[in-house]
Symmetry: C2
Subunit: 298 residues, 2 copies
């Protein structure tokens, strides 16, 4: 087809003469929440080590937010998708190439970067403990894996005159590495009005995190918690071989609550395949090792 527009141009002619207007454009960054799971120090030779959910952060070496901790990320370059930018950043920061990657949300609050107009298209990556090496931060920047806790602090509900309500959920986000202890409070506000409705995040308190990264982290944890229940997403955090108790520990550390063993095993039965291998030299009965069942989830 050779449709012509008002100026009598075909599409090819139009594109040849097209010049991008000099409207102001935003920079777009891909920022990543990279999760992994590690073992805490075991108390006794008999006890199993506890699992910890950890996240990679990088200490800023320049303004703005000099000295604060930020998510790994960087600007999306021309001829690159946001996914590719995220994968590239991940490779640069961790050397890893082949991981679970999922887009989270695009944050565009004005002033979220004090330098200039920057939107953040955020991603979540899951790394299993086989791939995991603490060699993060090959470049000059200081990097560390922070232990994550995210817990409901308070809940408030206000009724509106016109009908509907505003519910505010305040979560405390705690991130701790060797020397560092970061704390933030993120409020999730759910507005329900007769016609409209919506959810918004706000940072209530923030000690040590750069930009609006506390929001992005909150968003990632909530996505992870949600998906754990109805997908096999948690298996991306597991090594090749693992016990069902380890898998349960990972679920528990993500959800921040204890689960019942029997029910848990029924639930994940289809997500794993048993092997003929067993753990050895634990101070107790050996445990069968499982593999991820790639056919499992639907």
């Amino acid at each position: 087809m050779d449709l012509k527009d008002r100026d009598g141009l075909t599409e090819r002619e139009f594109l040849e003469q097209y010049r991008a207007g000099d409207f102001e454009r935003p920079s777009v960054a891909a920022d990543m929440v990279i999760f992994t799971v590690t073992d805490a120090q075991a108390d006794s030779y008999r006890k199993l080590p506890e699992k910890e959910l950890r996240m990679l952060l990088i200490r800023r070496g320049g303004h703005p937010f000099l000295g604060k901790w930020a998510l790994p990320g960087g600007f999306v370059r021309p001829n690159e998708t946001t996914e590719q930018a995220a994968a590239r950043e991940l490779r640069e920061e961790t050397g890893l190439d082949d991981v679970y990657l999922e887009q989270l949300y695009t944050f565009s609050d004005i002033g979220r970067d004090p330098r200039t107009w920057v939107m953040s298209c955020s991603y979540m990556a899951l790394i299993n403990s086989d791939q995991f090496q603490l060699k993060a931060g090959d470049d000059a920047a200081e990097a560390a894996w922070f232990k994550v806790t995210y817990r409901l602090l308070r809940e408030r509900k206000e009724l509106l005159e016109e009908g509907g309500y505003v519910k505010t959920l305040e979560y405390e986000l705690k991130l701790s590495a060797e020397e560092e202890e970061l704390t933030a409070v993120v409020a999730r506000t759910v507005t329900a009005r007769p016609t409209s409705a919506g959810t918004a995040y706000a940072i209530v308190a923030n000690d040590g995190l750069a930009f609006d990264h506390a929001k992005i982290i909150a968003c990632a944890i909530e996505r992870l918690r949600g998906k754990v229940n109805y997908t096999d997403i948690a298996l991306h955090l597991m090594p090749q071989l693992f016990t069902l108790t380890e898998l349960q520990q990972v679920y528990e550390v993500i959800l921040d609550r204890e689960l019942l063993k029997a029910a848990f095993r029924r639930k994940v039965a289809d997500l794993v395949t048993e092997t003929d291998h067993y753990t050895e030299n634990a101070g107790h009965r050996p445990s069968r090792l499982y593999r991820r069942n790639l056919e499992g989830y639907r």
Copy 2:
């Protein structure tokens, strides 16, 4: 705190001297999938009218994709968030201000806009039939509400040598307005590999839709279908007063399958409040009218 960076500048000094580099930046558009539900023509005075899921599209009046149909949307302006841009576009296209609005996904494939580098941050809006008037398209552009169907065409699963599989789900998207009939086939590819995993959309066939909007629409329908089952999202498509049968019809048209009455009523019981009003002059037993229960969902 007055931390100084390598150049001996404080944060304030840094920001004062900061000039945005002239790296190439993308344009960012907010594109919207605006859903509503309408009544089809009833066959007889006795029969209830069927519900139809509809979506607003705008015929392009210029290159590229001249004459094709596109989602309402536009570029995000400086000092505006993507949410605000979406809300502004919605107001411009429909005159509506107070609606359910939710961010979907950010699409950034290179070449998705043949003119220049454009990312699309997509949103879904739900409009109830009270607010709905077919006055869309006050400006010069031609606009129409298209009836939506989205149905699984075929499913393919290929096992990989390294372990894992690639599953391809092909959906047929049909959009129809008075004279117009648009058809596209969108493939959702789920890749499951031992370490990585991911989902991607691709357009397999496309007749009449501009840009990659078939993907965005597919994404919106899948989000809507998913959320219908575990939130009260469908109630944003309902007028102030409605019958439970109407609500069920809306669920059915979204999910594209029939539901059982008794089970449905149990499920939505907490999402609605009964009123003392009844339908009148239907050719059969009157039906109790309900309101949305704003306390209902969690």
